[in-house]
Amino acid sequence: MPPSHHLVDPEFSALPFAKLADTALQRARDFGAEHTDFRVERLRSQRLVLKDAGLVDASEDDALGCCVRVILDGAWGYAAGVGLSIDDVVRITEQAIAVARAARPMVTDPIVLADEPVHADRTWVSDYDIDPFSVPQAEKVALLAGWSRDLLRSASVDHVSAVVNQVRENKYYADSAGTTTMQQRIRIDPEVEVYGSDASRGVLDSMRTTAPPVGRGWEYLTGTGFDWPGELAQLPDLLAEKLTAPAVQSGRYDLVIHPSNLWLTIHESIGHATELDRVLGYEANYAGTSFATLDGLGSLQYGSPQLNVTGDRVVSHGLATIGYDDDGVETQQWDLIKDGTLVGYQTDRAMAKLMGWERSTGCAYADSPGHIPIQRMANVSLAASLDTISTDDLIARVENGLFVVGDKSWSIDMQRYNFQFTGQRFYAIKDGVLQGQVRDAAYQGTTTEFWGRMEAVGGADTWSLQGAFNCGKAQPGQVAAVSHGCPSALFRDIAILNTTAEAGH
């Protein structure tokens, strides 16, 4: 667990949790529920939006509510509300019981949870320095406006947008086995994008920062964890070069992919494919299923021997990092892919029990007080080489290829086979040397074939934690933030499309 020097927000920790939890747990016991959990959650968020240095939006959201989840005669029952009085808690507990009773006739596989040790009175706070909600809005806006004005001075920049999403998430959880946890996480997602045009060719385009969203506070924008001045200073020239860059020739290329792009390919083709709820069909009507079926556990050749992937909810500053999940399971790290072979899945407690496994990997998560926990993605990360291999070393091994930096467009099929990604920028590589940018490129692949073509990964110096705030899943839709660590990596013989040709223009 990362140490934190912060306390849980006193406004949250002052709520009468013990009394409310006792009420819910006792009321559910009255009806004979096999399991009950009671959760109170506060989700405070602010989205700052500036266009051309002018403030467009600084609105704040602050959701507070509680929910009760029961297992009664093998059926889930879930109810949620925003009132926090004893009467409110009694009412939603009774509603949850009523929902479970109504559901029971349609349940053929009774729900049972995998065992978990009791974690009584635990508190966990994520690792950050400055709570963004303690920083005066004027100070935040002034920083972003200053960045924007500097960028607008460049001839290549017609417009600039700056967006910073900030979240403080508080969760209180108590269950009928005796686990009670109180947790707080801070996360932040800053993005700056510049827009320009090349009138002579009728081309419009943009260039965005590659700084990942992270589990840090406002300090992330002022010198901790990322070199903002360095990246912002490069943006106008990177945009100017992209606007006039030659179009890529479609064909097959060797690729060196930077972590700022590779994380999203990991997310889509490994992260989602190793979610056990997808494998079991729970997402068949929405997010989809997975090609990585149970018969391949321990045998499916997912990729080359260089492919070593873990799931974890413990890495410092990880967006999926937390002390205890929404099933009351203490978080951990485990192997998903070892030397290229599928060896593990992400689970919640009900699925772990269904599989006959001893314990859940701790991936239950609900994105708000009004949503039921489901299995969500851990930080799914690709291990670096133990050798000292730089990104330049990887580029030096390529005769005719592309170096891909920054994520942009992404899409993958419902079983996680066929994907297509673009990037912020693609650079040509000739005879081991990096050339200028090319434009309109996309790479397409099929998951196991693509990872089978990964010849080498960079060393620890190339590894970084990337991620997203906006991973969507489930019905009703839930959004989760997740990180992915990865090194630069070298892939041989990958299909590259010219997107303008694809459009038929």
């Binding site: 609105s59 009523a98 349609m106 045009s197 009728g202 419009l204 068949a284 949503h371 297509q420 397409q444």
Partner: protein
Amino acid sequence: MSSLMATPQDLVEHALETTTAEHCAVVVRDSSTANLRWAANTLTTNGLMSATTMTVVSVRTGSSGSAVGVLSRSVTSRGQVERLVTEADAAADLADPADDAADLAVGEAAADWSDEPGRTSLDILSGFGAGLGEAFDRSRAASRKLYGYVEHDVTTTYLGTSTGLRLRHEQPTGHVGVTAKPDDWSASAWVGRAVEHLTEIDVDALDAELGRRLGWAQHQVELPAGRYQTLLPPTAVADLAIYAYWVASGRDAYEGQTVFSDPTGGTRIGEHIAKAGVRLGSDPTATGLAAAPFVVATASGSSASVFDNGLPLAATDWIADGRLTALHTSRYTAGLTGLAVASPVDNLRLTVDRGAGSADDLVATTDGRALLLTCLWYIREVDPQTLLLTGLTRDGVYLVEGGEVVGAVNNFRFNESPIDLLNRFSEAGSTERSFSREWGDYFPRTATPTLRVPDFNMSSVSQAS
């Protein structure tokens, strides 16, 4: 609602009494939702949720302009409202003048202002649940599995302003989607419907349609990537049309960021961007698609301003007879871009003059070979300037020969622009209520026709089945 709790109208009035700002707009959203989710012929999760959220827009007017504080929070009591308003007022005190500042809409209380919020309940699901249980039994007998989700939500919005406006809108929204697979998962079929009330859903009819489609899939044909004559049913057309609607910001177009931008400057308003006879419009009063008839903005953005809360929304053509006629603007971004004020409306209707017939009818009149799609999935923008989108076919691509479906084909990745397709389609069906597979959970109110596209770009094969 228990008698101890304040009504939404009370909360609005109390906020307007509490504020010390010169002007204030208050939005209360009272929502209740019931849902069921199932997989492999058994219920998985479910829920009954309710929430009340208040947004306070505090406006402080000073010598250099009007500053705004905007806060949204879950509220149930007058005490919570007082705290929220005090904080919104304080945020406005500290803010610089807002670029989008404008006078709040003026008016009075609407006739339905004092009506209670609408509610959904567990009972709403009971009729559906009985039908679903029978469908599970039939599926087990037929060695197939059902996966799906049904939801009913009623959200009632109360909007009050310090300028006298009191508006109420009750929005019922229901939708269902069901995926069916044989026990060995060798094929997949999907049906979905969006409705206002779940009683409009005929579970037996959905189940029968799934059976018909899995029957088609008993004969499977492998086809390579390429350009194919393709029938896009109303669901797939909604998948693409909603994306085009979401990127129709007037400001973004004016600033050179979208397919609606003129590369030499300004927007493409007035240009023929689609075939003659194509009309893409929104109308808050459209039957079966009724949406809020006034602006509800809890944050400002490219197409919205919190100062516009309560302005009336009118029927708007975004594309009329193939010509781009309007883009989304607030009063502020309209002024910035020189475009007319046209706030987005929460529904969308695509019609084509002389379009006639259902997807089945267009199958029957197909010359040669064509693909009949079910829906599209994982649609993402590849090139904003052309609105080139990539994505995949999902849960059933069917081969049409001799005017009938003769089997199922593998899935494909496509790369296509909806704006290009509106120029290239060769035939359109009649417009019907549709439910987008990819976006319907978030944008359920659409009506679209089937489109026949002579040369749809299937870029590569997907092994997903």
